[in-house]
Symmetry: C2
Subunit: 512 residues, 2 copies
Amino acid sequence: MNGAESLVRTLIASGVDTCFANPGTSEIHFVAALDRNPGMRCVLALFEGVVTGAADGYGRFARKPAATLMHCGPGMANGLACLHNAKRADTPIVNIVGDQATYHAPLNPPLASDVEGWARPVSQWVRRARTAREVGIAAAEAAQNAQRAPGGSATLILPSDVSWGEPGEEAAALAVPRREKSSAEQVNGAARVLRSGEPAVLLVSGAALLPENLPFAYAIASATGARLMAPTFNARIARGRGRPPLEIVPYPVDDAVRLLTGTKQLVVAGTGAPVAFFAYPGKPGIVSPPDAELHVLARPDQDIPDALARLAAELNCKPAGVNPAAVQPLPQDGPLTPERAAAVMAALLPDDAIIVDEAISLRGAFFATTKHAAPHDWVQVPGGAIGGGLPLATGAAIAAPGRRAVVLEGDGSAMYTVQALWTQARENLDVTTLILSNRKYAILEIELRAAGAPQGNSASDLFEIARPEIDWVKMAAAQGVEAARADSVARFAELFQHANSRRGPFLIELVL
Amino acid sequence: MNGAESLVRTLIASGVDTCFANPGTSEIHFVAALDRNPGMRCVLALFEGVVTGAADGYGRFARKPAATLMHCGPGMANGLACLHNAKRADTPIVNIVGDQATYHAPLNPPLASDVEGWARPVSQWVRRARTAREVGIAAAEAAQNAQRAPGGSATLILPSDVSWGEPGEEAAALAVPRREKSSAEQVNGAARVLRSGEPAVLLVSGAALLPENLPFAYAIASATGARLMAPTFNARIARGRGRPPLEIVPYPVDDAVRLLTGTKQLVVAGTGAPVAFFAYPGKPGIVSPPDAELHVLARPDQDIPDALARLAAELNCKPAGVNPAAVQPLPQDGPLTPERAAAVMAALLPDDAIIVDEAISLRGAFFATTKHAAPHDWVQVPGGAIGGGLPLATGAAIAAPGRRAVVLEGDGSAMYTVQALWTQARENLDVTTLILSNRKYAILEIELRAAGAPQGNSASDLFEIARPEIDWVKMAAAQGVEAARADSVARFAELFQHANSRRGPFLIELVL
């Protein structure tokens, strides 16, 4: 067996059985090895940002790493933005990056590049295999290290001669180290301040927001009077009817500061003190009050569910169900507005949907109305690199068959990784993409105002994407995805039901 | 004036008057500064790979740097692949990358990233501005260093508070150091071996392939009996009727080795010994004979035109015109093949066109037939990072108004940076895009065979992009570009003439 074959076999043995791929010449032997080793599902994407973003979405729902297969440094470079997002979501991913043959690289051929230099900022483990014999163990270590707390990218660089070289040796799966448990001081300290009666916020992220763990956080908050909150962006949040409500730290700094004013005790699990997305002249960087005391119940790399369960036990409170609110009726017909579109989506959302949120400036209305929608996961782009949405939905749909992914996507954001639609069509994935088509980078207008700068001609020109208008129905159809445009409540309701009642992807352009 | 304004003013003063942009929040003050300082043409792109690829195309034809404006690390990461190509083409570019405010970065906000780490592998100069006052001089240094031989990216990182901070100071343009001239030994040594009568190859790239310099190389080769050749990939090659013919080192290693067999003397200018694009088991990495002597007439960073002119003078030869070959007639009507499509393009090519070649597996026929087409520049992707084609044409069309850019683009390659079509429509650029639609990554089939691996189901599945088929007419129309499909010689001829006779972009899908 050659190095490539030992890689494929070891990955499968390590539970890595899905590979998002955009291979090139240096990965040819990996591809050939797939032919000899069934058990690895390969999903082709036409751009590496789709590869890595889909692996991120997959990892968040499969709760184990997918592999990515990318071509040399520049191929991986195309995937870095979505790997940055995955890093901020603590998503385990095993990146396989081909490279020049060991003896060819010194000749500086055209595609020679600094793969390690590019991989390191987004990886918690990087290794270059140097002989065929070490590929197997390196692959096992990659799978292990991707899942090492808090979870992230493990990047294995595979020179082509190492890939085609003999002998490869399949390696056994390596155990993933258990997460460190919170100390008694961490748990007891949190209990003490929450019992103190001082105004407190319980700010949770990561695994605390999974459906099985969030009820513990809610019980703790309910029992102590603390406010239950999550940071502005999170990997996923269990929400909807019958699930614990929680507040999100608002994106605008002034709103965040206002909401957190008066907080004396800040207990965090899976996150730290809330940091503003950007700095603005004269505004604070940390949006919680400077005099609030910070207590770390569990760091992002600690065992967050264990900490919540122990704190709940210490406080003698048990997770209980939340009374589901009444189903909200469909709004009356009329022209679409963000609020009406959000109401339609909330009323007609399929059970157990995965809502992928890259709505940027239009998020608010949709987040508010879905509070009482059917139970769902709300998936975000914690790294802030634009273009995460369509690939995230693609990967989530592969990891969670039977669940409908619904993407809230700005028209500007959608264009960064628009090639994801093709993969959705190819794999017939249950993804409903809602393009919130306002034909501008609306967030930049907001930011320009926040920065106190007047909006002149150049700014207007750089923020509007209406010249030419993007025809989203054609864009989807060009890639094999059925699509339609909605400009009224009734039409959107009809299309949304149609999209969700069938198998496969559908795109709806919401003219807002 | 704030830092951002000093940046804009200094760039303009340094001759950098075109900016390809995909800005974000941290670049807001740069955008605002544009409003107060006319003189900078801003070209919006919907993806950073288009930004950097267009800057590459611009730099190759404007012969000076454009600026790029990108958002934080992940935004720049999206542009790295095309910056890699620009690096390999020695194209001067000034990259402006926004970043977190200096005092905000330590809080590790979502978009915090290692901008320097990502920029360095593709940049010949990287600097982070730390105060508003130093932005002006840093911008002047960036413009200077982008043009420092051999030419490349100068990347200036601009934290948002440095951008909005006061006082900025406009700096004067800095002189670009002259290129080092080849030594007398270099010139005389080349003359000696070319006079020796031993089988010699004159292998030239870079500025040697510009229309004003190539005749010197041709005169030298003609006078001495040396074969005039260029590497497999070059920034641009002056070609067509009345221009010196030259051979290209073939991409397949066996073909390259065969063509160069017997060479005893290898004289290079603007390049080194020819290196295979990839390594293959049992095949050489350098494709010229091991016993060929290498003589460096001019390194890529030396003054190549000067070296050629001095060598020509030393050899007493003068550039002379080349007799134009007869215009090739249009082929007879019939189904399109690569050869017939190439013949149509060659017969109907507008004068002084810019042919951008990212045809990958189908290059051969088009390169052969255009030898006697109207005079043109043949533009390649010397870095081999896929997706260079459409952005290169976009930037070249902006740098060279009045010239028609014709893109030969594989359907697989086109998808990486397909957003370039939108910018072409927005700016009404004279670009005719020919999608060579074979619905597969044909190069990978070729490479799999070259690697000696059999093609099984997984390989076939990962190499074909026909499921679903991409509808290129819709893809173009979705972005405001008129398009049509051609499956016969007559239809292609009609469409190609139509496309080139009007202003603005047009896309033709060639069903091959």
